[in-house]
Symmetry: C2
Subunit: 213 residues, 2 copies
């Protein structure tokens, strides 16, 4: 039949696609986000046009690659977020999961956070939504969890979304800085961030005369 044919071919194509993605993964992990299509093709043992047939353009390949890692990271984050524990503990677990991930595989992390990368696919200069898709997805995910679980009164949905993206951004920026300078242990970072979210900024006393920040 036609359908069985298609599924056969589909499977084969999907397998090939996965192989290609794994090759691309190796190269990107080695050479960074500026890995060339030629290099990726060579790693896969083939030549460029095949890559283009499978993924359209460089952006397509990178998007596919990013989706794999993003999905994986989001899964582990969801696990930390859904664990049966009290709020503070969960927040810390989630922060720690994220930080552990970027610590363990910084190259993947850098790749994921680097969307545009000069790929000519993103012209049109669409301001806004220029952030890495990973950030957006994490923000939305967190917003949903917040809105589901917390009683925030009126306007809760909007508030939850602001918080979701805000907290994710906080985590990301702090993590990025931390990864570059390593000024403290992961556990300390987690604690500091959780403290910030727990309102210690508002509770802190002024240092001397005048209104503190």
């Amino acid at each position: 039949m036609d359908t069985t044919q298609r599924t056969e071919q589909q499977r084969s194509a999907d397998r090939r696609r996965r192989e290609l993605l794994e090759a691309a993964d190796r190269v990107v992990l080695r050479d960074g986000p500026q890995a060339s299509m030629n290099a990726i093709a060579a790693e896969a043992g083939i030549t460029k046009p095949i890559l283009y047939r499978h993924f359209g353009d460089k952006g397509g390949l990178y998007a596919a690659l990013a989706k794999r890692h993003t999905d994986a990271l989001l899964d582990s984050l969801r696990a930390a977020l859904d664990a049966p524990a009290e709020r503070r503990e969960r927040v810390e677990a989630t922060l720690d999961t994220y930080l552990a991930a970027i610590e363990a595989r910084p190259q993947v992390y850098r790749f994921l956070m680097h969307p545009a990368e000069g790929s000519p696919g993103d012209q049109g200069f669409d301001v806004g939504k220029h952030s890495a898709p990973l950030l957006r997805r994490m923000g939305e995910e967190l917003a949903q969890v917040i809105e589901e679980r917390l009683d925030l009164g009126p306007g809760s949905q909007q508030l939850a979304r602001v918080w979701g993206h805000g907290i994710v951004g906080m985590m990301h920026a702090a993590g990025d800085w931390w990864l570059g300078e390593r000024p403290c242990s992961r556990a300390e970072l987690v604690r500091s961030l959780a403290d910030l979210l727990w309102g210690r900024l508002a509770a802190a006393g002024d240092r001397m005369g005048g209104p503190g920040f």
Copy 2:
């Protein structure tokens, strides 16, 4: 004298440099961060090699360009941060200043947040510190203000730095998302973020059974 000569030439060169930067600014504002050196040179009424003589490479030009805008933005942020008002008000003023800036000139904003941009100057794949310099500088600046003004007990310096980068990241991510979707007014966004920093996350009640997020 020799010195006067030098200053003469220096002045001329500096003027030229400024003119070139302004031309580059116009092009980047029009074409986005992927503006080509050719286009910039054309806008300035000259050809490529001159740009390279002045700025070394594309990264140099972009760095110079970014520095101008970054300095300007940081100045206005400092003003908001140093205003004589109480803490919450200052936080809101600072958030609002930042958001107003990115709202008024989104193209500049996007350019500033897009460091690598495929420029071959950034290879070497230095994970960490890959963030836009603007983010780093804002984080450090804020950290300094926090550490100066707040009494955070032991380990205050480190805590202040974590918070500085974290808060800046929160502001950035939320701003980016907001700029893309415009889900609410700027004032609402400011309020929501300030509420987050003021510990409303910790204070919120659970929605139903089980420990909330």
